[in-house]
């Protein structure tokens, strides 16, 4: 239980940090902008293999943060509850 929480939190914060770093390069025109980190891609983002890798990694990190936290905080605990409930009913019969 506590292990699953820290796994989700670690994924959320670690992957979110990596996403923030990449988004600050590719989706931030100015740190005084009110839409920093969520702007459309900046102009030089599709030039060169390294920029392309970084842009795709940005999406990977974002979705890994969201889905990872969702998995360890909701899906796995819910699955365990369902399994234990099924086990209980099977033993009751």
């Amino acid at each position: 239980m506590a292990d699953e929480f820290i796994k989700g939190l670690g994924i959320l914060s670690g992957s979110g940090l990596a996403w923030m770093v990449l988004a600050s390069w590719y989706r931030t025109s100015s740190f005084e902008s009110t839409k920093q980190l969520i702007e459309p891609l900046s102009s030089g983002a599709s030039e060169g293999i390294f920029n392309l890798i970084a842009v795709s990694l940005m999406d990977v990190f974002l979705w890994f943060a969201i889905l990872g936290a969702l998995t360890f905080w909701i899906l796995i605990p819910a699955g365990r509850q369902v399994m234990s409930e099924l086990e209980k009913r099977r033993n009751a019969q």
Binding site: D3, W25, T28, T34, K35
Partner: protein, 254 residues
């Protein structure tokens, strides 16, 4: 001198004296197989602290002191070092990886279009923007009783007054939110209200509808407070109560 204390520092190999902890030491796979990790660890930690305390008390040169605490070295120092290392590492990482930003120099002869206080006073600044809550009275012919700015200042008085009476309330014996779900929910309400009022204060900069922002300012704290109350109630009836059973046995909740 008793039998089990060695006379010299050498480890004897005939089975007496200090024996190397070989077969009793759990392997890493055995440690990993334990299912009661956190509660077991907590128990072992406090049990060991209690044992060390007991050993200290039975020593002949022990002097009873008023203050009972963990020693600075190594307990506090190791903890503080790890926290300091984390933040130093965070500063190094962010300064090395984020793009540099140097804004335009401030122009002292030009007043900025949006004037804001320091960020920790945003909540107070947000209370000055409650114009829509300032009631119009029919008895005054639809006029407002006081100016919007007076209303905002009075709203500050309400919040500061609510915080000022906290020291005079009976704080009870609860030490963690599970024991007092209602007051924990009140605390969460206050924290979230401070946050949403801060966002209301910078409504010029928020990329969303201003009316929606105003409604959320007072709706979100209620939502978060209710969720906190429900979650803490559930935790109290559920597993956390078992986890803290040893703690509750010492000091049962009201």
């Amino acid at each position: 001198m008793s039998d089990n204390e060695p006379e010299n520092e050498e480890i004897r190999t005939d089975g007496t004296g200090i024996v190397a902890p070989d077969n009793e030491t759990p392997t890493w796979s055995e440690r990993k197989a334990r299912k009661t990790g956190l509660s077991r660890l907590t128990y072992e930690y406090f049990e060991r602290a209690r044992r060390e305390d007991q050993d200290l008390r039975t020593e002949s040169d022990y002097v009873e002191r008023d203050v009972l605490a963990f020693p600075t070295w190594p307990h506090e120092t190791v903890r503080n070092l790890s926290i300091a290392s984390f933040f130093v590492g965070m500063i190094l990482f962010l300064s090395a990886t984020m793009p540099p930003h140097i804004g335009a120099p401030a122009n002292p002869s030009n007043t900025p279009s949006i004037i804001l206080p320091d960020w920790y006073l945003y909540w107070s600044f947000g209370l000055l923007k409650l114009n829509a809550l300032n009631p119009e009275l029919a008895i005054l012919g639809g006029q407002k009783l006081m100016a919007d700015r007076t209303y905002g200042v009075l709203a500050n008085g309400v919040v500061v007054g609510a915080i000022a009476i906290v020291p005079f309330l009976n704080k009870g014996s609860a030490r963690r939110p599970v024991e007092q779900p209602f007051w924990a929910a009140v605390g969460v309400f206050g924290v979230v209200l401070a946050l949403t009022l801060s966002l209301l204060a910078i409504k010029n900069l928020m990329p969303m509808n201003v009316d929606l922002l105003f409604d959320l300012t007072f709706f979100l704290p209620v939502v978060f407070g209710t969720v906190t109350y429900a979650v803490l109630k559930t935790m109290r009836e559920g597993y956390m109560y078992d986890l803290n059973r040893r703690y509750y046995r010492l000091r049962p909740p009201k």
